[in-house]
């Protein structure tokens, strides 16, 4: 309950921060809408020449695209800005002041900065789902929506965990800009159904950086064809990754001795 209140305070500060500069706020909105409009283009181009890819029709692939857009919103709206903040803290040594607060440091760091405009992604994702179902000429069942939501929760947990591990790397490397770029580049692969990839790449994308779990599973769930045991696997993977991330974070904090102290 206390943390819920704290979360509210952090969101409030982020909102105020975003609105501090009016022009930037408006421009951010425009840029966001523009990016969303271009998001579907690569998929569209590919499907102009082919009926299906790896068993996915255009309409079905749009489900993956929708979840990709949704997760990208989560990543860029909530995860990356906080990442930038914590790296800044480490470099300037102000993480000390954060660690002095009587609240969980991982929580404070994770909620430090949010970009409210990125919530537009959620609306865009819903629009993409709508388009996809329109092409497929069907409506998702309530059960499909429920399983898809659960799979999405697992996906967010995995995404968040990968991010916490990346942040923890900052304690050792100090400069992790390249790492985040790599992360974004790899994440881009999640816009395609996992079946598109083959061999080693697919193994890596399923087990090492589980992009398949992140976008393909919720998409399959929405299409009503995700087996329950796979859903259970997703949730297990989500929980497990959270636990691992927590462990990595705690180890890093313990090793942290502030710069110039």
């Amino acid at each position: 309950m206390r943390y819920l209140r704290l979360f509210g305070m952090q969101i409030r500060a982020s909102l105020l921060l975003s609105m501090q500069y009016r022009l930037e706020f408006v421009l951010d909105g425009f840029v966001e809408v523009f990016w969303m409009a271009t998001a579907v283009v690569p998929l569209y181009v590919v499907y102009e020449r082919r009926q299906d890819i790896a068993g996915w029709s255009f309409g079905e692939a749009l489900m993956v695209m929708g979840w990709f857009t949704f997760l990208q919103g989560v990543l860029e709206g909530a995860i990356n800005p906080s990442l930038v903040t914590v790296v800044d803290h480490i470099r300037k040594g102000t993480l000390d002041l954060l660690l002095m607060k009587p609240a969980d440091a991982q929580f404070l760091v994770s909620t430090a900065r949010l970009q409210p405009w990125r919530t537009v992604n959620v609306a865009t994702a819903i629009a993409i789902f709508g388009w996809g179902f329109h092409l497929l000429r069907r409506v998702p069942s309530a059960a499909a929506v429920a399983t898809a939501s659960l799979a999405a929760v697992a996906a967010i947990a995995i995404l968040y965990s990968l991010w916490i591990v990346t942040v923890s790397a900052a304690f050792y490397l100090v400069r992790i800009d390249n790492l985040t770029q790599l992360f974004n580049a790899v994440f881009d692969a999640a816009r395609w159904p996992a079946q598109v990839f083959r061999g080693v790449v697919r193994v890596i994308l399923t087990f090492v950086i589980p992009l398949a779990l992140m976008t393909t599973c919720p998409a399959e769930a929405l299409l009503g064809r995700l087996p329950l045991h796979v859903l259970a696997g997703c949730l297990l993977a989500g929980g497990l990754s959270l636990a691992v991330a927590r462990r990595v974070w705690q180890t890093s904090i313990a090793r942290y001795t502030s710069a110039g102290g």
Partner: protein, 345 residues
């Protein structure tokens, strides 16, 4: 309130001779060296006391402070702050203390300080009524006024430090750790910060540990000083006694009606400075009366003052002594004191 017993903090630092070849070699084989930032310090501080940590750069002051605040884990030794082991960083402990680092800020840069206060209120779980009361008192003591409504980035350094202090005191901590709180501030702002800290201490009975490069801060605020040098405790007691011990001299400033030869002054004491109209002598404090009498009788004195030697000088003498002593004992491996503070990552 605070008990420290045989505190040690050692860092393992990677040592590398200069040059590209050496840098390349160190990619494969690294030479490490143990640096003792704090090397067996013990002291006890009572509730409500104001204590100043003195010492040259890299002496271990900030390291000690950070160990007390729970940010660094000691290599060995015992630390107790009001019944807590700082290492565990329990909420109950963190709510009792505050840490202000003069060179680092917690204010949200683009927002008014009032937003940071509000955020801290939530983080520290301060009830609204108490928060309003505390903020009222703090803004009165610090004369915050409208400052809290302007974005932090538009404030001057001094104004920001005032808000920084207020932000760190939202939860009315019982123990204040201040690391260089007046660094970079102009003289009048330094005085404002000092006055505030003193009044806060008196009003709330808070315990205070301060490190500062400005002797004025320590002289004005701290009846008791702890001198740390080379990670060791070099002195623990009152400032007057420390000064008397290092410099048993008083400083006599003489102004003359007409020029006096330097050779005529040598008989009175050690000549620190000699100019056309003014000379400065250092005289052992027991000889002051005699020397003043003689000077008035024998020299064309138009004005005369007796003062303590400047604190800055006393300190640099103390640390210079420490260094020569250390150089003697560590002549085989010189220079750990530079490494201690610069390489704690």
């Amino acid at each position: 309130m605070i008990v420290v017993r045989d505190l040690r903090k050692h860092y393992r630092v990677h040592e590398r001779p200069p040059g590209v070849a050496a840098a390349f070699r160190s990619l494969f084989r690294r030479a490490y060296k143990d640096v003792a930032a704090v090397d067996g310090i013990s002291f006890a501080i009572a509730s409500g006391e104001r204590v100043g940590f003195l010492g040259p750069n890299g002496a271990g002051k900030t390291t000690t402070l950070k160990v007390l605040a729970g940010l660094l884990h000691p290599t060995s030794g015992e630390v107790d702050v009001d019944g807590h082991d700082p290492r565990r960083r329990e909420d109950a402990f963190l709510k009792k203390i505050m840490l202000v680092l003069g060179q680092k800020q917690q204010l949200l840069w683009d927002l008014p300080p009032s937003e940071t206060f509000e955020l801290n209120r939530a983080v520290y779980d301060v009830p609204r009524a108490q928060f309003a009361e505390t903020m009222g008192e703090l803004s009165e003591l610090l004369e915050l006024g409208d400052l809290v409504k302007k974005p932090a980035r538009t404030l001057s350094l001094g104004e920001r430090m005032k808000c920084e202090l207020a932000a760190a005191l939202v939860h009315r901590p019982k123990v204040l750790f201040l690391d260089e709180p007046t660094i970079g501030l102009d003289v009048s702002m330094q005085a404002t910060v000092r006055d505030f800290v003193e009044r806060y201490n008196q009003r709330y009975g808070a315990t205070l540990i301060l490190t500062s490069h400005y002797m004025e801060d320590v002289a004005r605020l701290c009846p008791r000083v702890i001198v740390i040098d080379h990670g060791k405790l070099a002195y623990d007691g009152t400032l007057e006694e420390l000064v008397a011990r290092i410099r048993p001299d008083k400083r006599i400033v003489l102004r003359f009606a007409r020029p006096v030869d330097a050779s005529d002054l040598a008989a009175f004491g050690r000549v620190v400075r000699h100019g056309a109209g003014e000379s400065v002598l250092d005289v052992h404090k027991e000889d002051v009366n005699r020397v003043v009498g003689q000077a008035l009788a024998q020299l064309p004195v138009s004005d005369l003052t007796v003062e303590n030697p400047p604190l800055e000088e006393v300190m640099s003498e103390l640390f210079a002594r420490g260094r020569t002593a250390a150089a003697r004992t560590e002549s085989r491996s010189p220079g750990p004191l530079e490494a201690a503070e610069g390489s704690t990552r």
